[in-house]
């Protein structure tokens, strides 16, 4: 009986301990909906901060925006005060439609003590070009045909089925792209880059990051330049491409059919030639490893 009591007492103590290891935040949200007409020639420019942004296509001729701007704090009054510091601007100037969500504090007022977060859903016509920059959040874009320009700082990018030209600059934010059909140009710093089933040509510059690139028959020319970056190629069939691989002060792991002659301690080379009309995969890194997985 004493043992049972002790066990029950310990379990109760653990439960209380678990309950004490959590903090309840009061979340005050401001829901906004706006709609802007679009016609070919107009470009959408999105500028966010602490925002999770989703851009998906619509058949409508309007760009529709719905956003939840929230403030989170254990004290409800603080959250209610801080939620009003959100600034949400939608305006059209010439051929550009601007959408901006940021925390604006008037001079002399205190900085918000709450956690600020914006959840933004944007529905755009498929051919609408999008220029998006975001800090400390996420951005997801899918099934768009227009040109896309992305810029992020601690922003994770999830991209799917983008058919237009794609230009990305990401610092401290991973980029994951699947079924990208257009030209891809990525500059990453301290970012993990993962690309699968790309159809067009790709150019990647990476520093202090990692690159995972899956190639197949549809993949075009690929050029990767890295510093302090490890590159891993997932190539189920290496006959589809010509390869030029070079690493300075790094390791090179390639299948046996690759020609590794001409390597030295400080520079390792590997080449593979198939047909001249096949696209080329050209990778050069410094202080980073190159690995081909099949």
């Amino acid at each position: 009986m004493k043992k049972i009591s002790l066990i029950v007492f310990l379990m109760a103590g653990c439960g209380v301990g678990c309950a004490l290891a959590q903090t309840t935040l009061q979340v005050v949200g401001k829901n906004i909906e706006k709609s802007v007409p679009w016609k070919p020639g107009l470009e959408l420019i999105v500028n966010g901060e602490k925002a999770d942004i989703t851009v998906i296509p619509t058949d409508s001729a309007y760009i529709s925006i719905s956003a939840e701007l929230s403030a989170k704090h254990p004290n409800l009054d603080t959250a209610q005060t801080d939620v009003n510091t959100w600034q949400f601007i939608v305006t059209t100037v010439g051929k550009k439609i601007y959408l901006r969500a940021y925390v604006g504090v008037l001079a002399g007022k205190r900085v918000p003590a709450s956690n600020m977060k914006a959840q933004i859903l944007i529905k755009v016509p498929k051919n609408c070009p999008v220029n998006l920059s975001n800090r400390f959040g996420r951005a997801r874009l899918e099934q768009l045909n227009g040109a896309v320009v992305l810029s992020g700082y601690f922003c994770r990018f999830d991209l799917q089925e983008l058919a237009g030209e794609l230009h990305i600059e990401s610092e401290h934010g991973s980029v994951e792209g699947r079924d990208l059909k257009g030209l891809v140009d990525i500059r990453g710093k301290r970012a993990e880059l993962i690309l699968q089933r790309t159809s067009g040509d790709c150019a990647i510059q990476a520093e202090y990051g990692t690159v995972h690139f899956s190639t197949d028959q549809q993949t075009g020319n690929v050029r990767i330049a890295g510093q302090m970056t490890d590159v891993t190629l997932h190539a189920p069939d290496s006959i589809t491409h010509n390869y030029h691989l070079k690493t300075h002060y790094g390791d090179l792991q390639v299948p046996d059919r690759f020609d590794v002659s001409g390597s030295s301690d400080s520079e390792r080379n590997a080449t593979f030639k198939t047909k001249n009309d096949r696209p080329t995969i050209d990778i050069e890194t410094s202080f980073g490893h190159i690995k081909i997985k099949q």
Partner: protein
């Protein structure tokens, strides 16, 4: 030049000087201190609320002695009717003046349409937009180069979220004081601090430190984003590795 100005100046210098008694300043200081102390004491003085029964007793007393109760103000009966009549006449004249038809003037130009309000400025509160109940595509208002459609006003929602304290504590970790070792040692102009590799590592360390501070500020006091907290931890690991390399070189 004033006549005999020299004599005047000499006479002024020879005028006797009077010093206040020593106790004067002391008394003034005491008086000021007294007033200051009095104010603070008054602030601290407790306030007393009368017991609830007292009000009951007072109302009983008033009930027993009606002459003690306050007398209602009585207006002359005639005044009421005069005031009512005046108000009625005023309302009638205002209504007549507003509703009377104005004669048409053929040469008069039409009044311009009211100006459309300006767009909200960057620091203004989020614009309130007139709600539109139609199911079809909303209408458009043109404002100079800007077009936007009418949309419903913002809704306020309230909910609660529970955050793991471990995330919050990870976001509040103070910086390791060992990070300042490199700065202190390089202030002594050690030769290694001028080496290209050392400078490169130091630059990367500084970059990571900036990113760490930016991320910590973005997470705030109640970090609730596991991905960003994970990145904070990764940056911290990277800083530690670089710091170890720098210290090894020194």
């Amino acid at each position: 030049m004033e006549k005999n100005s020299e004599n005047l100046t000499k006479a002024i210098t020879r005028l006797p000087e009077y010093q206040p008694p020593d106790l004067l300043w002391h008394n003034l200081e005491e008086q000021l201190d007294y007033e200051q102390n009095l104010e603070s004491l008054l602030r601290e003085m407790p306030t007393y609320a009368p017991p609830a029964a007292m009000w009951d007793q007072l109302s009983l007393k008033i009930a027993k002695a009606p002459e003690l109760a306050p007398k209602p103000r009585r207006t002359q009966p005639g005044f009421k009717w005069i005031i009512a009549a005046l108000l009625l006449a005023l309302a009638f004249s205002i209504g007549f003046w507003k509703l009377k038809p104005t004669p048409a003037v053929p040469s008069e130009k039409q009044a311009p349409t009211p100006a459309i309000p300006d767009l909200p400025k960057i620091n203004d509160a989020i614009a309130q937009i007139v709600p539109d109940n139609r199911q079809l595509a909303p209408p458009i208002k043109k404002i100079k180069n800007t077009t936007y459609a009418l949309s419903p006003p913002p809704r306020i929602t309230l909910r609660k979220e529970v955050v793991d304290d471990r995330l919050i504590m990870a976001g509040r970790q103070a910086d390791d004081p060992n990070y300042e070792i490199i700065e202190r040692l390089c202030l002594e102009a050690l030769p290694v601090c001028e080496e290209p590799k050392f400078k490169q590592l130091k630059a990367e360390f500084d970059h990571l430190s900036t990113a760490h501070d930016d991320l910590k500020n973005a997470l705030g006091d109640f970090a609730d984003d596991p991905e960003l907290v994970e990145q904070l931890v990764e940056i911290e690991h990277a800083r530690i590795q670089i710091l170890q390399q720098l210290v090894t070189m020194m």
